[in-house]
């Protein structure tokens, strides 16, 4: 019956998340595991960097300070008065997602952000933080009243709009990175033995960095919008 035999492309094995081991009977995806390795690397790196901080900074310390200053300034621009307060949150999002998006260039490493679990975890955390900060800044009554503005019957639309934010937030990142890795895997699949460097440069490095920037900026913007 099969006159033409198509080579089968297993998207799950190539780009999707695969459970690799279990903890307490709950399987852990390889993407999540790579995320743990990235976290561990980040923590070790920061321990090494901050072990000998000096008032006269070295080159590495200078770069780190510049990065943190940039994050604080950007946050301060969208969220006045929140630059230092949100540095751990925003900085962790920026560092972790940036490195997760870039890690795809390494062979055998899947992007943790190509797994919807990671991005939804981040999106939900940003959603909860933004709502909580808005509640704290505006007070409970003004926060609730904010959903019924400008007129009362927009209440369901406002709520849906608010709930759509984390979904679009996490799906945007997931779709970009997952789509990119699928295209890279397809290119490698159609031309065996070819490492798709241009695709990797575009999808992993450029798109990855832009998406990390956008995810971070949108997180700041959501917090800022919810608090005013």
């Amino acid at each position: 019956m099969n006159y033409i035999h198509f080579a089968t492309f297993d998207i799950q094995a190539e780009s999707g998340a695969q459970p690799i081991f279990e903890i307490f009977g709950w399987p852990v995806n390889d993407t999540i595991f790579i995320g743990w390795i990235i976290s561990l690397g980040l923590v070790l790196f920061s321990i090494v960097v901050t072990r000998n901080l000096a008032l006269r900074p070295g080159r590495l310390q200078n770069a780190i300070e510049l990065l943190l200053e940039y994050i604080i300034d950007t946050t301060e621009g969208l969220l006045p008065g929140g630059g230092k307060k949100f540095l751990p949150f925003i900085g962790t999002i920026a560092l972790y997602i940036g490195i997760s998006n870039l890690v795809g260039v390494l062979p055998l490493a899947k992007n943790p952000t190509a797994d919807l679990n990671t991005t939804v975890a981040f999106g939900l955390t940003v959603f909860l933080v933004s709502q909580g900060y808005g509640m704290q800044q505006k007070g409970l009554w003004r926060y609730i009243k904010g959903f019924a503005e400008p007129v009362f019957f927009l209440l369901p639309i406002n709520i849906i709009g608010e709930l759509a934010k984390p979904i679009s937030h996490s799906f945007r990142l997931f779709g970009n990175i997952f789509g990119g890795s699928v295209i890279i895997a397809l290119a490698a699949f159609f031309v065996p033995g070819f490492i798709p460097v241009p695709f990797m440069a575009w999808f992993d490095i450029f798109i990855g960095l832009v998406q990390a920037l956008i995810f971070t900026m949108l997180a700041i913007a959501y917090i800022s919008v919810a608090s005013e």
Binding site: I11, Q12, G16, S168, F171, R172, F174, G175, N176, F178, G179, V182, V210, Q211, L213, I214, M217, L218, A221
Partner: protein, 87 residues
């Protein structure tokens, strides 16, 4: 009433999923037009005010990312149809 064997039904579902994936990507038109429009406006702004290039670029990228959402949803649905329904 015509009875279909499970194999036929599965084939129909697969075909429908593939067609659906193809159709879903039509949404890319909207995202593409929107992003192109934003990029054009950003170029105009940079031509008018070259010193504000950095902030214009960042604003453009964020706007494009928001405009991209629909296209990305379509892509995600297409991928789900292609690889998660068929398999």
């Amino acid at each position: 009433m015509v009875e279909f064997s499970p194999q036929v039904i599965e084939t129909i579902i697969k075909a429908a999923a593939l067609i659906g994936a193809g159709l879903a990507l039509i949404a890319g038109i909207g995202a593409g037009v929107g992003q192109g429009y934003a990029a054009g406006k950003a170029v105009e702004s940079v031509a008018r005010q070259p010193e504000a290039r950095g902030i214009i670029t960042i604003t453009m990228l964020i706007g494009q990312a928001v405009a991209e959402s629909t296209g990305i949803y379509a892509l995600v649905f297409a991928l789900i149809l292609l690889f998660f329904i068929i398999l």
